[in-house]
């Protein structure tokens, strides 16, 4: 025991353990952090094994049709009108809806055996983001907040978790401390331009999210009573640091060349991805960008094509940019959604919810690309091979980040939790 503690004092997480010990009343952690476990690796190259420091998480809200994007069933009537195209990896095909991404297939691991047991949007989103099903009154933290809790900021001047577009269910700090909450940027092009003015706190924010604007608001209005509530003064310090920082430039997508802005697409998801790249360049740890509109119960084929155009352009530009900057080694790019769509085409030319098989994509951070992992059955209704549950998927992300997925963290009510519940990482994707 003594030995463990001595070792702990050498670890960077020392502060975390101290905080934890102090906050027995709050979230307590009886973890093996005391001697940080690491995963055994046979080789020690920076080109094998988990390498991710930061995450860009692209969330397709509404349920992205796997059949019309990453999991083709060509020759089956269930496929509908969508055709396949070649990618830059010999022998593989993606949907014609993704012509730009097809040129990045060599970087991507496409998982076509995703499985969820949540068939409704809100519950599905919650599960995908937190690895836990919505139950009772407890709020589970999202991966970004877990990352902050265990590993902290790398850039002291910027928030660690930023969500662009919206904060999805299950992606908040949950039962973790307020300071791990994501910062919400509603409009990527507006960025943080108002952070110098404290009057502009009008936007109605997601109820459980402490946006930076709210932090500022609290900070200013509480200026003369801040000593009362220590977290207020913490927020105040953060806000001041951010306002003084050169890193604020990170939020200014308008300082990019017009050609770059156009390359990502002239829409908020595209500009959101550009902003994500700028933030990750400055070592923000976790940026989530949401693209809605995937709930295609009617008119599936037109709407998926339209949405795919936005996704395809933005994600391809992002992957290209990260590659040129040498950032794909340490940035994990995630593309996911709450569920897929049914093989059966309904009478409105639509597809309905299909949680029992869908697709997600992982790129960078040690993931070896150019491959498909797992299979759905011949029509794409259920998983046929190598099922990846939602917790497995999140455990894989956590593993890429070097997070201790088997550590137990206790919620304020004394209940044990794990970063990705009982999920198991897909080790095969890293070699």
């Amino acid at each position: 025991m003594k030995n463990l503690l001595k070792q702990a004092s050498e670890l960077d997480r020392r502060q975390f353990i101290l905080n934890t010990a102090k906050s027995l009343l709050g979230v307590s952690c009886a973890s093996s952090l005391l001697a940080k476990p690491s995963f055994a690796q046979s080789t020690s190259s920076i080109y094998s094994g988990p390498q991710a420091k930061n995450v860009i998480y692209l969330y397709m809200s509404g349920g992205m049709s796997h059949l019309d994007t990453f999991d083709l069933k060509q020759g089956r009537p269930e496929q509908g009108p969508v055709k396949g195209i070649k990618t830059n990896v010999v022998g593989t095909r993606l949907s014609e809806n993704l012509p730009q991404l097809a040129k990045h297939m060599n970087k991507m691991a496409v998982i076509n055996s995703m499985f969820s047991n949540q068939g409704a949007h809100e519950e599905g989103r919650y599960f995908m983001h937190s690895s836990y099903t919505k139950r009772g009154t407890i709020q589970h933290p999202g991966l970004g907040s877990w990352l902050m809790k265990y590993d902290g900021n790398h850039n002291p001047n910027l928030p660690g978790v930023v969500h662009i577009g919206s904060v999805n269910p299950g992606s908040t700090q949950g039962f973790l401390e307020q300071k791990y909450a994501p910062l919400l940027i509603g409009d990527p092009e507006a960025g943080l331009q108002h952070s110098k003015i404290h009057k502009l706190f009008t936007e109605k924010e997601f109820a459980n999210t402490q946006s930076l604007r709210q932090k500022l608001d609290q900070a200013f209005s509480a200026k003369y009573q801040q000593r009362k509530v220590s977290s207020y003064s913490e927020a105040y310090d953060d806000a001041l640091r951010l306002m003084k920082s050169d890193d604020l430039d990170a939020f200014k997508v308008e300082s990019e060349a017009q050609s770059t802005r156009d390359a990502y697409g002239k829409n908020s998801f595209g500009q959101g991805c550009l902003l994500a790249r700028r933030l990750i360049e400055r070592d923000v740890r976790f940026v989530e960008v949401t693209l809605g509109g995937w709930d295609t119960h009617t008119n599936n084929f037109e709407r998926v094509a339209e949405n795919s155009r936005i996704l395809d352009q933005a994600m391809a530009a992002l992957l290209g940019d990260l590659e040129q900057r040498g950032m794909l080694e340490e940035t994990l790019v995630v593309l996911t959604t709450e569920f897929g769509r049914t093989p059966k085409i309904n009478q409105n030319e639509g597809r309905d919810h299909n949680p029992t098989a869908f697709s997600s994509v992982l790129v960078g951070g040690g993931i070896q690309g150019g491959r498909f992992y797992g299979k759905s059955d011949e029509i794409g209704k259920s998983v046929a091979d190598k099922r990846v549950t939602v917790p497995d998927f999140n455990a894989t992300i956590a593993y890429a980040l070097g997070l201790p997925i088997y550590d137990t963290i206790y919620s304020p009510t004394g209940r044990p939790f794990h970063i990705a519940d009982k999920g198991q990482p897909i080790l095969e994707l890293f070699s």
């Binding site: 025991m1 070792q7 050498e10 670890l11 960077d12 027995l24 009343l25 307590s28 009886a30 005391l34 001697a35 940080k36 476990p37 690491s38 995963f39 055994a40 690796q41 020690s44 190259s45 920076i46 080109y47 094998s48 094994g49 988990p50 390498q51 991710a52 047991n117 099903t133 139950r135 009772g136 009154t137 407890i138 590993d151 790398h154 850039n155 002291p156 001047n157 360049e281 070592d283 590659e323 040129q324 900057r325 040498g326 080694e329 040690g366 593993y399 980040l401 070097g402 088997y406 137990t408 206790y410 304020p412 009510t413 004394g414 209940r415 044990p416 009982k422 198991q424 990482p425 080790l427």
Partner: protein, 322 residues
């Protein structure tokens, strides 16, 4: 309320800190039929057996219990803290997820019996002496792994123990004081990586000595956007274990690049957004391990890259002519 959760938390914290395992009161192995079923009958089966299956869960037989409920497994042998049958019953009674959802809950003694039963491996029947011996061997194997499911996917967690030398410790402290982020490498806990970008550093206050003291452990260094130049590069030559060097948007020039030839392990070299030209590239001639180089937004030309690739046929060059 607060107090209650405090009381609840502390014992479990202490137990796990001490790595405490095994039954508290019984030396003999607990079984479902003898020890657990009576408890479930009294407190749980009203809602979790043939009549009602709340949460799509039945708790009356081995098969049903192992099948789990609507949110999956409820029993993980050897792991009470992963097993919802225990976890939910051990919640404070004001928790909305507390089980039983109505009626009298388990007594502390019953709870402890349930916990011990799972901790011992969740035996269902009383066993003969022989099978008991076999099972106990089984158990030691399984206990080496955190849960059964982990055995399935072969994730091994290795506790790497290593000792930092006093001067290494001092170096880490000094670097942290400067605002350098010091962390372990994911794949090898005894190796370190540094992010210097947010320390206020330049060539005049470059922490050369601290870096050299840590040389045996330094695998990755990120200098991105720091205003450091060739003088700082010159002081990296002793970092012979370095495999990842990010010099994105720093002030290094062609002159300084020759110093990198002293880094025999270098695999990743990021020169994005620097003023490097073909002259600088020509100086890289000793990097046998180099796998990737990043040259976009530099003054490098196609000619320079052609020559580089002649020397390093397997090198992945990232470059877009501007």
């Amino acid at each position: 309320m607060k107090f209650k959760s405090y009381l609840f938390t502390v014992p479990s914290l202490l137990l796990s800190l001490a790595g405490y395992s095994g039954a508290v009161f019984s030396a003999q192995k607990l079984t479902f039929s003898q020890d657990i079923l009576p408890i479930f009958e009294a407190k749980c089966l009203k809602c979790h057996s043939d009549e009602k299956q709340k949460g799509e869960l039945r708790l009356d037989t081995k098969e049903w219990i192992l099948k789990g409920g609507e949110s999956g497994d409820v029993l993980i042998p050897f792991k009470p803290e992963y097993s919802d049958v225990y976890v939910l019953a051990a919640l404070p009674d004001y928790d909305p997820d507390y089980m039983p959802s109505k009626g009298k809950g388990l007594t502390p003694a019953e709870l402890e019996t349930l916990r011990s039963w799972i901790q011992q491996g969740a035996q269902f029947e009383v066993e003969s002496a022989e099978t008991a011996a076999e099972a106990s061997m089984d158990m030691t194997i399984q206990q080496a792994h955190p849960t059964q499911t982990e055995v399935k996917s072969q994730v091994k967690i290795k506790q790497v123990s290593y000792q930092l030398k006093p001067n290494e410790k001092a170096a880490i402290e000094q670097l942290k004081q400067l605002g350098v982020k010091v962390d372990h490498v994911h794949y090898d806990q005894s190796k370190y990586e540094l992010i210097l970008s947010y320390a206020k550093l330049n060539d005049d206050n470059f922490p050369q000595q601290s870096l050299i003291k840590l040389a045996d452990r330094l695998t990755k260094i990120d200098f991105a956007r720091l205003p450091i130049g060739d003088a700082s590069l010159a002081s990296l030559t002793k970092l012979s274990k370095l495999s990842y060097l990010d010099l994105r948007q720093t002030k290094i020039t062609d002159k300084g690049l020759a110093h990198l030839n002293d880094l025999p392990q270098l695999e990743y070299l990021n020169l994005y957004g620097t003023s490097i030209s073909d002259h600088g590239l020509a100086k890289l001639n000793n990097l046998t391990q180099l796998k990737s180089i990043y040259l976009t937004n530099t003054r490098v030309t196609q000619q320079g890259i052609k020559k580089l690739v002649q020397r390093y046929p397997n090198l992945k060059v990232s470059y877009i002519a501007s």
